[in-house]
């Protein structure tokens, strides 16, 4: 079967980006925290807290957006026969890298997706995050060019690939049933109390999950592919999200340009950059940003499911050890953790680049 360059690909991903930007702003309108229509890191952290794995009372809420993203991807993958249970590519390494990606994100107070949404809200602190993010990606690309690989994954049993989406359904049930052992941030108790209605969040997550699966949207891949191959397709997708969310924010009066007083953000430029540099570096080593990991997990990729668990473990550790930043700025423990993170990731990257690549 002959392949040709599809003229549809770029308009489709730009269209998806525009819709995703609108959905992200709409979620804030319906109750999500400011500049946080989506934040994979924050939402996994909030879910982790709700389940009791950390006790930071201000950020405990099971976010249906996460469930929606995984299930939306899963449903579309099943429908298009792209659901392929696979795994076995250095899962423990991925778990650890995931932990440090989360630590980096919580230093900046956002995942790459939220970084874009913060820029679209006029939060100029995210510019430092973006600079650091690009630097981190360049570090990852350096190792990719040296032959970095976590080796191949293998076909897994259907049940193995399906367990993670089913677990997400279970988590949704816990949110709706709200038994006493699930934590909910008190009203006015913090960002965990700010959320859209469950149905709205879930539907938003499903729609974005479907679109992200279909277009292979990935924040890290966007920049990485331009640097490595001169390929702009993914980057155009998230530029579309940025522009669309920016316009949406302006229309709704949410655009608030500046550095100081930004919602759920701090002004320490250096550590905003370093946090996202760690996240960017880790995401290149993982093969995708946190959003992409959720989508892949929905497609049956158990290595990505393990990565998501690593992100959640990282969130628990971050709040239990006092590593997460706040509006006041980074913590001393957080800075140490980020430095340790760079060392660990460099070692992991170097060790996994030392094999001769089989061409």
């Amino acid at each position: 079967m002959k392949e040709t360059l599809s003229k549809k690909e770029t308009p489709v991903i730009i269209g998806a980006g525009v819709i995703i930007g609108i959905i992200a702003v709409a979620l804030v309108y319906f109750g999500n925290p400011a500049n946080m229509g989506f934040c994979i890191a924050c939402f996994l952290r909030d879910t982790t807290g709700a389940l009791g794995f950390h006790s930071a009372a201000a950020v405990q809420y099971i976010r249906p957006e996460i469930v929606g993203l995984v299930l939306g991807s899963c449903i579309l993958a099943l429908a298009t026969k792209e659901f392929k249970p696979r795994g076995g590519s250095a899962p423990v390494t991925r778990f650890v890298i995931g932990m440090f990606v989360m630590i980096g994100c919580l230093m900046f107070l956002g995942c790459p997706f939220r970084m874009i949404l913060r820029l679209a809200g006029g939060d100029f602190n995210a510019i430092f995050g973006l600079i650091g993010f690009i630097a981190g990606i360049l570090a990852g690309v350096f190792f990719l060019k040296k032959g970095y690989t976590l080796k191949r994954s293998y076909k897994m049993q259907p049940v193995e690939g399906g367990i993670f989406p089913v677990v997400e359904i279970g988590i949704l049930v816990l949110l709706i049933a709200a038994p006493a052992f699930i934590h909910f941030t008190e009203a006015d108790g913090g960002p965990g109390a700010k959320h859209a209605a469950i149905a709205i969040s879930l539907i938003a997550g499903l729609l974005v999950g479907v679109m992200a699966q279909r277009t292979r949207l990935c924040m890290v891949g966007g920049i990485r592919d331009v640097v490595l191959f001169g390929e702009w397709k993914l980057l155009l997708g998230f530029i579309a999200i940025l522009v669309s969310a920016l316009i949406g924010n302006m229309v709704l009066g949410y655009f608030n340009p500046g550095f100081a007083g930004q919602p759920i953000a701090h002004t320490d430029g250096l550590w905003n950059a370093l946090g996202m540099a760690l996240a960017g570096f880790g995401c290149v080593l993982l093969g995708g940003c946190p959003l992409r990991q959720l989508v892949l997990a929905g497609e049956g990729n158990t290595d990505s499911a393990i990565t998501v668990l690593g992100l959640m473990a990282g969130a628990a550790v971050a709040h239990n050890f006092g590593l997460a930043s706040s509006g006041e700025g980074p913590t001393a423990n957080g800075k140490i953790a980020v430095v340790i993170g760079f060392i660990v990731l460099i070692v992991i990257a170097a060790v996994n680049s030392m094999r001769k690549s089989e061409a």
Partner: protein, 94 residues
Amino acid sequence: MKMMNSNIMTAYFEAVKYNCKRRFYSMKTIDARGLSCPEPVIRTKNALASGEKAYTVMVDNVTAKENVSRFALHQGYKVSVKEEDEDFILTLEK
């Protein structure tokens, strides 16, 4: 007699063509099955640097198939894809 000759001639030239292809039509194979993004494209990119006329790339998922195809098409190769069980076998030809 003439018909028999032309059949023999056709068979002879087909055999010559086949042997020429086997000797000069080098088909370097890249096995990128199971690899994380963006390794399939990186492996393909590195292999294409040797400038041969044709390559075979094996991947096991649609995203990698799309990415390798897109990359090869941008480099001026013709791409054809065959599905084999769960895998995709791409043939890149200049």
